[in-house]
């Protein structure tokens, strides 16, 4: 039994590690198609990672140990998060170690280390990127927490698996609170993962870039880890979204090969859909001025709070 | 008996010797010696009273009971420490050329005379003699206030003389009325009719209508000397312009004695009137003093004026407490009188040397005491903190008791008192801090300042804040029973 649980846990992590680059690749493909471009291969992210790992690392002369350690920390944090979020099964040993709030904390840790590393070398762009990243972060984090709070008010817990179980097993009802929070979550996801309209992963234009600016000093394996970590972050956010809003299909019963066998394809389906959706949003929306980013996130925060208010006013929606 | 005679005779002898003696050189030491002898006699007397209880001496003309005995001890003690302090202080004044040797002689003899008058006022049993000695106290200090002969000091002295003279005249009328009432009750055996003990015995038979009038006159009269608002106008000027040792004894002792006289009268009047009128008057004066003083503190430029107003404030507090009456409040008032006179005189000692170092009494001229002469600086700082009622100093203890009693007895007064205390704190501390700390501009003094008195006083105040010795507490409680009335 224990071994099975452990195996499932490892499987989930492995799936996450594999699926994260694929998800990004898929996202980019969709974007290319939507903008009538020839799409790159789905495996392009993998190739890039391999290439980077092979290269020799170049470090700035005044880079401190913190600079070298950061990629590993960020990557490790993201992997742990991936292990905690119930993407395949809700009955894993690690999920007890951190509820949704702790999860947000983990993301914050990653962000802080990323920013510190960016400030380490002391170039203009590094600090600029760190500042902007922290700005986005300190606005997005409360919004994300609010989203989770709404869900936890509905299901009386802040543990993700419990939430998704509760939402999955209850009779299907239209819950305006959840709808509002879903919107909020989407906005947060875009912001946190450096997607348009907040940031543009495909540009190095100093006026606009956030995430890329922080990675300018990184190269080779360090860069690879950073990239992988950010792909994992996107994947994790997606999984959180699934757990909160489309929880069906996550193996909630006893862990068995059957449940997992069913869970994997469902997850793939969800990811495909989500990727398409994100791509659509990114294509139709334009990059915001960096100064407008706060307003964007304030909107997200507002939506989440509205959700909470609605929840408080209407109470639990009537279940037939 | 013998202790009393010694206690009164020593300063009298001192006055004459220092006035006509030939020892110019050692006059300051001689002054201290006489004060020390007085102190010894006073302590002997105190011990006697502790041992044998209240004493009626010299044909009942003198009476020492728990109420005045600790004031006697306190007066003698502060008199001694002030003499010690004035020894180097006056030498420095001469060195700075502010006074001449001849005036120093006047100073010393008048100082002893002043001591005599106050001790007499405290110990006498005869309300008439009480008046006489208080008037004499005024007269003996007037020339001390004008010792420097500067225009300002002359003005201060003149105001002091006129206001206190007029005030004390009212007190005389009050005394007459008291005698008038007493004669009816005691029969016209002239001399004894003004003896407090006798009056106290028959106070319930004294004619209320007369005593009420008498109390008003006595209150206005002695209240003027105690510096109760609105009779206080002389106080700040006199304190600021006289030599510092005199400021110290005026503020530390004379005010106490005047308040003592008022309380003695209050006991009689309340016994006869059976109405809250006297208490109300005292409370009114008290509140007025506290409020006005705490506000006027904000206008002060001169360091000695500053602390003079603080004296008004604290006398007001004590008066208010006496007005509230009751065991606890009276206890607190007595404690407050004690700690105030100790602390305030200590502050004036420190202030005096500070002013000498800066060559000015204006506060913006005094800077960074603690850097050049830490003892003076810390003395001033600690004394100020003590007078502002910060624990663990004794002032906090008495204020704690007064405030908590007021919460129960006179809640209406609480906002005024607290606001006043807050204002006073901000006003005084803000100014003292910038005098004690910061860059310094002080000069060295020709003679080493005597700071033993400062720290001796502060140590006592500290002790009283943390631990009131049982026998002292016993005195206070006995006195409180004596005065407290209800």
């Amino acid at each position: 039994m224990k071994t099975a649980a452990l195996a499932a846990q490892l499987l989930e992590i492995a799936v996450a590690l594999a699926a994260a680059p694929l998800f990004l690749g898929w996202l980019n493909q969709c974007r290319a198609w939507l903008s009538n471009r020839r799409a790159p291969s789905l495996l392009l992210p993998f190739r890039q990672l391999r290439k980077l790992f092979h290269k020799d690392a170049v470090l700035a002369r005044n880079a401190s140990p913190l600079f070298r350690a950061a990629p590993y920390v960020v990557f490790g944090t993201m992997v742990v998060a991936a292990g905690i979020i119930p993407s395949l099964s809700a009955r894993l040993p690690l999920v007890a170690a951190a509820d949704a709030v702790a999860l947000v904390g983990l993301f914050a840790t990653a962000r802080v280390f990323l920013s510190l590393a960016a400030m380490d070398v002391g170039t203009a762009f590094g600090t600029l990127g760190a500042r902007r990243e922290m700005m986005v972060g300190f606005l997005a984090e409360p919004a994300l927490l609010m989203v989770i709070f709404v869900a936890s008010l509905i299901s009386a817990t802040t543990a993700l698996p419990a939430i998704s179980e509760h939402l999955a097993t209850r009779t299907l009802t239209i819950d305006p609170a959840l709808a509002f929070t879903a919107v909020a979550f989407t906005l947060v996801l875009l912001a946190e993962n450096a997607r348009i309209p907040v940031d543009n992963p495909a540009t190095h234009l100093e006026l606009t870039m956030i995430h890329e600016a922080m990675l300018l000093e990184y190269s080779a394996r360090h860069l690879a880890l950073m990239e992988w970590a950010s792909q994992l972050r996107l994947f994790n956010y997606a999984c959180i979204g699934f757990a909160l809003f489309i929880p069906w299909g996550i193996a909630t019963r006893e862990i068995g090969p059957a449940g997992l066998a069913l869970a994997v394809p469902i997850l793939a389906l969800k990811l495909a859909a989500a990727g398409a959706g994100l791509a659509l949003i990114e294509t139709v929306s334009a990059k915001l001025r960096i100064l407008r980013a706060p307003e964007f996130l304030a909107t997200a925060f507002l939506f989440a709070v509205l959700g909470m208010l609605v929840r408080g006013l209407l109470g639990a929606p009537p279940s037939p | 008996m013998i202790e009393l005679v010694l206690m009164l005779a020593t300063p009298a002898a001192g006055a004459t010797v220092l006035a006509f003696g030939r020892w110019r050189r050692h006059a300051p030491e001689l002054n201290a010696v006489f004060s020390f002898a007085t102190f010894l006699a006073a302590s002997a007397l105190t011990v006697r009273v502790i041992g044998q209880g209240p004493q009626l001496l010299i044909g009942e003309q003198f009476y020492i009971d728990p109420f005045n005995v600790f004031l006697v001890a306190l007066t003698a003690f502060v008199g001694l420490t002030t003499a010690l302090f004035s020894r180097p202080y006056m030498r420095i004044e001469i060195a700075h050329g502010r006074i001449t040797a001849a005036r120093l002689r006047l100073y010393h003899s008048m100082y002893q005379l002043f001591m005599l008058t106050m001790l007499a006022a405290l110990t006498t049993n005869n309300m008439g003699l009480l008046w006489v000695s208080l008037e004499a106290a005024t007269l003996s200090t007037v020339l001390l206030v004008t010792l420097y002969r500067t225009p300002r000091s002359l003005e201060a002295g003149w105001k002091y003389f006129i206001l206190c003279g007029v005030g004390i005249a009212q007190a005389l009328f009050g005394t007459i009325l008291l005698y008038f009432a007493a004669e009816r009750a005691l029969g016209a055996e002239g001399v004894t009719a003004l003896l407090w003990t006798h009056l106290d015995g028959v106070k319930s038979q004294l004619e209320p209508a007369v005593l009420a009038l008498a109390f008003v006159f006595l209150l206005v009269g002695y209240g003027t000397k105690a510096g109760l608002v609105p009779l206080h106008s002389w106080l700040a000027d006199a304190h600021a312009e006289g030599p510092t040792p005199i400021s110290a004894v005026l503020s530390g002792l004379l005010l106490n004695v005047a308040l003592y006289a008022i309380v003695r009268c209050k006991v009689l009047v309340e016994g006869s009137l059976h109405s809250a009128l006297p208490s109300r008057m005292l409370m009114g004066f008290g509140i007025a003093s506290v409020a006005l003083a705490s506000v006027l503190l904000w206008r002060q430029r001169d360091i000695k004026r500053l602390f003079a107003y603080s004296s008004i404030e604290h006398m007001g507090l004590a008066t208010f407490a006496f007005g509230m009456g009751g065991a606890v409040a009276t206890f607190a008032a007595l404690l407050h009188m004690t700690v105030h006179s100790l602390t305030k005189s200590a502050i004036f000692f420190a202030t005096g040397h500070a002013a000498q170092k800066a060559g000015s009494q204006r506060m913006e001229d005094i800077r960074g005491l603690v850097t050049l002469s830490p003892t003076v600086g810390w003395g001033l700082m600690l004394g100020t903190l003590a007078i502002l009622g910060l624990p663990p100093f004794g002032v906090f203890a008495s204020e704690f008791l007064i405030l908590t009693t007021a919460m129960r007895e006179q809640p209406w007064a609480i906002p005024i008192l607290l606001a006043a205390l807050g204002l006073a704190f901000a006003a005084i501390f803000g100014r003292v801090q910038s005098m004690v700390f910061g860059e310094t501009n002080m000069r060295r003094l020709p003679h080493a300042p005597a700071l033993l008195p400062v720290f001796a006083h502060l140590a006592l105040v500290l002790l009283l804040g943390l631990y009131v010795p049982p026998y002292l507490a016993g005195w206070y409680e006995a006195a409180a029973r004596l005065i407290g009335g209800h």
Binding site: - | G128, L129, E135, V166, Y179, L194
Partner: protein, 231 residues
Amino acid sequence: MTDPLLPSAAIHVAIDRQLLDACAALQLLIAFAMLAQRRIVSLVNLLAAQGAVLAAATLLLAWRTGQGHLYVSGVLTLALKVAFLPWLLHRLIDRLEVRFDAEPALNVSGNLLAGLLVVVFAFGLAQPITHLASTAMRNAIGIALGVVLLAFLMMITRRKAISQVIGFLSMENGLFFGAMSATYGMPMVVELGVALDVLVAMLVLGVFFFQIREQFDSLDLHHLESLGERR
């Protein structure tokens, strides 16, 4: 208590009473006169007159009641208040060359009006207690109080140091008169003490005058208004 005058003949009683009451009236009159008087020299004379009336009343009482200490205080008053103090004042006035000084701005009519009110007030105060007195001139208590308050008023209105002092002394007279009328004077010890104080006070004042004079070469009080709480 019985009136000590009763045993003697009724006719005398009347005369004594009349005389004493006359003294009281005179006191009041003189007080008013001082309130209205501008010139310092005349003020001194008025003071002397007041002292004289006081002394007369005291001696009269002493003679009638035969209380020994009243003689003493009568003589004391005579010596101090009629002889010595006026002489001293005159001397000072000469030495200080203020013989022709006068109160510049003195609103006489206003003062007299205020004085009138004060006296009425004083009588009102004394009224309830006079009947308690056992003395020959109990009605004078109110007058004495009035004199004291009038002197107070005078001190308030004067702008010259000397006239203020004169006001102070006339207040002392009023007090003695009060003591006399209420209780045939105070106990001897006190009387002596008070007299001593007054004497010393005068000497101190003498010193004062010269100090002030040498500082400001004038005895106007407006020189003495620099202290106080103004910026």
